[in-house]
């Protein structure tokens, strides 16, 4: 099992590269069954974006989530 601190360090080593991909809006951290999961928030219906992401990085799984983009709310 990986520590939270180690998982965060792995995420931070890679997030800048992934955030530069058109269609990627965020990178987060989760876990499944005690294993590290890096969540990549992407546009829905974009297999080309998914194709640019690895399935694993270091000891973490990389899981795309179709969140769509984020915006600061206006009234």
């Amino acid at each position: 099992m990986i520590s939270e601190a180690d998982a965060l360090a792995i995420k931070r080593r890679h997030e800048t590269e992934w955030l530069s991909i058109d269609g990627v809006h965020g990178v987060g951290l989760g876990e499944a069954g005690g294993e590290c999961v890096i969540t990549v928030y992407v546009d829905p219906g974009r297999p080309d974006v998914r194709a640019q992401l690895p399935e694993r990085v270091e000891s973490c799984a990389v899981v795309p989530v179709e969140s769509g983009g984020f915006e600061a709310y206006r009234g």
């Binding site: 965060l8 995420k11 997030e15 955030l19 809006h25 965020g26 990178v27 987060g28 951290l29 989760g30 876990e31 969540t39 928030y41 989530v65 179709e66 969140s67 769509g68 983009g69 984020f70 915006e71 600061a72 709310y73 206006r74 009234g75």
Partner: protein, 326 residues
Amino acid sequence: MSSVGGGASEEDLLAAQRELEAALLLDVADRAGAPESGTEKHGFENVVGVGIAEKVAGDHLTGRPAVTVYVVSKARAGDVDAEALVPGEVRGVPTDVVASGEFVARPYRGRYRPAPGGVSLGHHRITAGTLGCLVRRDSTLYVLSNNHVLANSNAGATGDAVLQPGAADGGRNPEDVIAHLSEFVPIEFGGALNAVDAAIAETSQDLVTATNTCLGDLGAEPVAPTRGMVVRKCGRTTQLTRGIVTDVNATVRVSYGESGTATFRDQTLVEGIGGRSFSEGGDSGSLIVEESGNRPAALLFGGGPAYTIGSPISAVLGALGVSIVT
């Protein structure tokens, strides 16, 4: 006796409206609210209002007044309970049925004095956001919300008027001023990393209250959000909602429209519970609290179709050097 439009007097119209109002709304309120109402056929639950308006035929106004029944959705006569059917005329006055949808109260967009957390407010040059909570530094009292709500996304200046309600909800300057901008954490657009979207505006004790309009009294101690935490928020647009924290380490790129795009690190993401969105536009600045205990956890500032974004409250309070007033 005066006459309106196509012959019916005002008195006739009003009498007809009152008769249908009683038959479809007032005398049947209990039946409209019964769980079985509308399960087989449309019944009284489908009727949401009765008024007087110009009758519409096809897409055209006819110039003739009618007793107008507002319904959630229109249905064929065969799909409506016989008792809830709208007659073609009442007391000789024609009727009309309009699909208005459900009427929803928007209570937190009004003017409140003293103003609690959860209601509309904003810098005088923006539309409207939400008053998060009260904070204090030494003896000075402030309202806490987002930079983009209180400081117009870095464009505001110290002393600028903050209105309650916000301008989009009818707030006027200077009549509805509740605070003056004091400080904001600048939002860095482009590639720089941000931690919070937050600002404070100085207010006074007689204008505000520490209670939240739908959350009640806040927990005294902030709590760090954790994955799986069940949370609630009270906001100007979607009011009281429940959600679950899904991520507390998110680095997200957030659009500020014409101002540009800003990247935030270590943000909290919340997913609505029960298929309902946790927040929408106008909820910016809402305080996100842990459901059990009402302890403040994050300051909401944006989101997308699936997730709401909040900055951890400890980072917000630390950046502004303030503590929450309960």
